[in-house]
């Protein structure tokens, strides 16, 4: 599955996007975050405070409990600050 990072999540993880094979047990956004956090120190730092992280599943905002099912891409980013 394609995982994208924006703004300071991109800086902290050290990557813009990565293609990952997820374990079968990872079925929700929250579970994905818990799994990503264990990958390395950068990911742990990026997801240290989940309240500061927003997610989009296939370009639609998604809460922690959302299913990631057959998603093509999942993005993580801070609360938006455009306008």
């Amino acid at each position: 599955m394609k995982i994208l990072y924006f703004a300071w999540l991109r800086e902290k993880t050290g990557c813009r996007e990565e293609e990952l094979d997820l374990p079968a047990a990872v079925t929700t956004v929250g579970e994905l975050i818990a799994w990503l956090r264990q990958r390395d120190a950068g990911h742990a730092a990026a997801f240290a405070d989940v309240k500061q992280v927003r997610c989009a599943v296939d370009m639609e905002f998604a809460p922690l409990q959302a299913s990631i099912g057959q998603a093509r891409e999942i993005a993580f980013f801070p609360p938006v600050t455009g306008g």
């Binding site: 994208l4 924006f6 703004a7 300071w8 989009a56 370009m59 639609e60 905002f61 993005a75 980013f77 801070p78 609360p79 938006v80 600050t81 455009g82 306008g83």
Partner: protein, 149 residues
């Protein structure tokens, strides 16, 4: 009719306002957001990042929502990305309707939702050499929540 653009180059607000004119339009309202630099903490530049694909989709969704809430004949949303200097234009929102009330209200709605529902992120680079990602303002959420009925 919707006009949605994400671009690095500047926009011509006069030309955008003129393009909102049409038969049946009696009122055109607009909002322009610009790069703010404060005298006590001067800004060297503002960097705007976005999520290509989702950005356009989110902006279109916001504009379509506005068209359903108010009798708009035309609606324009333009957001710049990349590196912008102080006082530069960031965003243009315009709405055209038969009467002013809808155009004014829709413009407020469009910018409130654009600020809270479209995937853009700002990083401020200060003249002092440091830089920081802009934190969302709670008041932005409060403004956006006004339209949740």
């Amino acid at each position: 009719m919707l006009e949605i653009r994400v671009q690095s180059q500047d926009f011509d607000a006069g030309a955008e306002l003129a393009a909102l004119g049409a038969d049946g339009v009696g009122g055109i309202a607009s909002f322009i957001g610009t790069v703010r630099s404060m005298p006590d903490r001067p800004l060297a530049a503002l960097h705007l990042e976005h999520y290509p694909g989702m950005t356009e989709q989110a902006m279109r969704g916001i504009a379509e929502d506005a068209m359903q809430r108010w009798p708009l004949l035309r609606c324009t949303l333009i957001h710049r990305v990349g590196t912008l200097l102080p006082r530069a234009n960031i965003v243009f929102v315009g709405a055209a309707s038969p009467h002013r009330e809808a155009a004014l209200a829709a413009t407020g709605f469009l910018i409130d939702w654009l600020k809270t529902r479209a995937p853009f992120w700002k990083r401020e680079e200060f003249c002092s050499g440091d830089s920081a990602w802009v934190k969302p303002r709670e008041s932005d959420d409060a403004f956006a929540a006004r339209w949740n009925k």
